[in-house]
């Protein structure tokens, strides 16, 4: 049984078919990339998996459990975490608080009006570990909105990781970044993948990043699956070259 199993997933907006009959499976510990030209339906596909949108038809299963109709926050509790194309953090809270909130939520404490000293200490230790892992320890007390673009991105990824997900969805993690920032984020993703044996699906435009990171690649075009396979196979695929790589270059 696959960790994530998507069957015949479709989503229409009026007459536009944004995602068209996509089937897709991710195994535990796998790092998968989704690529495709602009408007190929990549982000819509993510929105369907994470519960931001309801599909028009098809099914989504996580570890065999049907989650097609589950609200977003329940999917998070089941182990799906995501980041967004435009970084979504809590800009006027400190970086520490940004991480504290998902850590507490993951620990099932979101409704607690107070915490015991021991519990608070336990939580703080986890937050410190996440800060260190994301390379954010030095700026823990600063407002997240004041950080550089790359550090905000790292904050967002660590927030997702604080949820102890089984599946992490990253929507264009290096979008709008410079060379150095891109390298840092790629290194962070690789480290998470290797250390935590976390299954990651990422949407990415930067082909160097994709071929450097991904175990397997799915290519979407006009909402449908164009090809799927190892980076080598995708690079050699003529249809992909014609429809995407050739056209884009």
């Amino acid at each position: 049984m696959s960790l994530l199993e998507v069957r015949n997933l479709s989503r229409q907006f009026g007459s536009l078919i944004a995602v068209n009959d996509v089937s897709f499976a991710v195994e535990a510990g796998e790092l998968r990339a989704v690529i495709g030209p602009n408007g190929a339906g990549k982000t819509t596909f993510f929105n369907l998996i994470s519960g931001m949108l309801a599909p028009s038809s098809g099914s989504i299963r996580l570890d065999g459990t049907d989650i097609t109709r589950l609200p977003a926050h329940r999917r998070v509790a089941m182990g799906i975490a995501r980041t967004f194309q435009v970084t979504e953090i809590f800009p006027e809270l400190s970086v520490r608080e940004n991480l504290l909130i998902p850590v507490e939520t993951e620990a099932g404490l979101r409704l607690r009006p107070f915490l015991s000293r021991a519990r608070a200490h336990e939580i703080a230790t986890r937050v410190d570990a996440l800060l260190a892992m994301g390379g954010l320890a030095a700026m823990a007390e600063r407002l997240a909105g004041e950080l550089s673009h790359g550090d905000q991105r790292a904050t967002e990824i660590m927030m997702a990781l604080a949820l102890k997900p089984r599946l992490l969805l990253l929507d264009e993690p290096t979008a709008g970044m410079g060379e150095q920032e891109t390298r840092d984020v790629v290194r962070l993703i690789r480290r998470l993948h290797e250390q935590e044996r976390l299954a990651i699906v990422l949407i990415e435009h930067d082909m160097r990043v994709v071929f450097h990171l991904a175990d397997r690649i799915m290519v979407l075009a006009e909402g449908a699956v164009l090809a799927e396979g190892t980076p080598q196979a995708i690079a050699a695929d003529e249809r992909v070259q014609a429809a995407y790589l050739g056209g884009a270059a």
Binding site: P91, I101, E104, L109, L111
Partner: protein, 316 residues
């Protein structure tokens, strides 16, 4: 030093409030006005729990002020002359009302949410206005008085002694402020800040946003109805205007004027507003124009409020 920075403002606030009966008359105030400031401050802080710390605008909190006020007044008038019982019934009435209304509106956001809260406040206004046999209608609920507190070993005359009543209200405010501050520093409070900051992010961290907004709404309304019971005790009187949308708007302007991102902002806003109203209405018949102008000026020149300007933290 760090402790002073953290607790200093609160200590200062409590020293100033505890000594109001001593210094307020010296600058032209009177104790009952001080009490009124406390009551309105409590209501404004309740509104701000939702507005400033959850990012949800209710323009209809007069509904809960009114429910608390009528609940307390009618308990004493019809049921049992007991100040604490009236307080309890008033708070329960307002809280239950908020639970029901909250459940209907919690899926709405922004302007739409604000508009619906305003409209719901009117239902209670018309009920209080029309159900004359129960509420006294337009003339208000009269013929009852707050009752001295009986602690068993001693009595506190909050009815005849203005100062005693002031301190009774201050104790209520202190307890409420304490609970609100505690909640805001808790994991639950942090989820509310998260919703204020970025609702989508909060939802995709696993927080059921609607449920948390509902809770925040109910908590906020519970404190607003506590303010309502004290509001009724203030003059031993309540009329349908307690429910009117003008009152709701005044709470919001108090919060904004004082600084809605700060805990004590609404208190400062309430003090400025009530003292200004008290003074202005003795000098002019056109109080409404002054009030209106005041709203406009605050929005145009002072959107961050007093404490928002003092604390240089960026606000949107």
């Amino acid at each position: 030093m760090k402790a002073l920075e953290k607790y200093g403002p609160s200590i200062a606030v409590w020293i100033v409030l505890a000594t109001v009966p001593l210094w307020f008359p010296l600058i032209g105030g009177y104790t009952a006005l001080g009490t009124r400031v406390l009551v309105m401050a409590l209501a404004a802080m309740a509104v701000n729990f939702l507005l400033g710390f959850t990012g949800v605008l209710s323009f209809g909190h007069a509904a809960y002020l009114g429910l608390g006020a009528y609940g307390a007044g009618m308990t004493i008038k019809y049921l049992l002359p007991s100040t604490p019982l009236g307080l309890l019934v008033g708070v329960l009435t307002g809280t239950v009302g908020a639970m029901i209304i909250g459940a209907m509106i919690v899926r709405l956001r922004g302007v739409y949410f604000a508009m619906v809260t305003i409209a719901f406040g009117q239902v209670f206004y018309f009920i209080a206005f029309r159900w004359v046999s129960l509420t006294g209608g337009d003339d208000g609920l009269t013929g009852w008085k707050r009752v001295p507190l009986d602690l068993g070993f001693t009595q506190i005359d909050i009815l005849g002694n203005d100062r005693a009543f002031y301190y009774f209200v201050l104790v209520c405010l202190a307890a409420s402020a304490g609970i609100m501050a505690l909640l805001l520093r808790s994991p639950f409070g942090r989820t509310l800040l998260a919703i204020r900051e970025n609702e989508r992010r909060a939802r995709f961290l696993g927080i059921p946003v609607d449920q948390h907004i509902w809770l925040s709404f109910v908590i906020s309304a519970a404190f607003a109805s506590l303010a309502g019971t004290l509001y009724a005790y203030l003059d031993n009187f309540v009329d349908p205007r307690a429910f009117y949308w003008q009152q709701s708007g005044e709470f919001v302007i108090m919060a904004v004027l004082g600084g809605m991102r700060s805990f004590w902002g609404p208190l400062i806003g309430a003090a400025i507003f009530e003292v200004l109203q008290d003074k202005a209405s003795t000098y002019t018949d056109n109080w409404m124009s002054i009030l209106g102008l005041f709203f406009v000026l605050v929005v145009v020149f002072f959107p961050r409020g007093v404490l928002g300007v003092l604390n240089r933290k960026p606000t949107r």
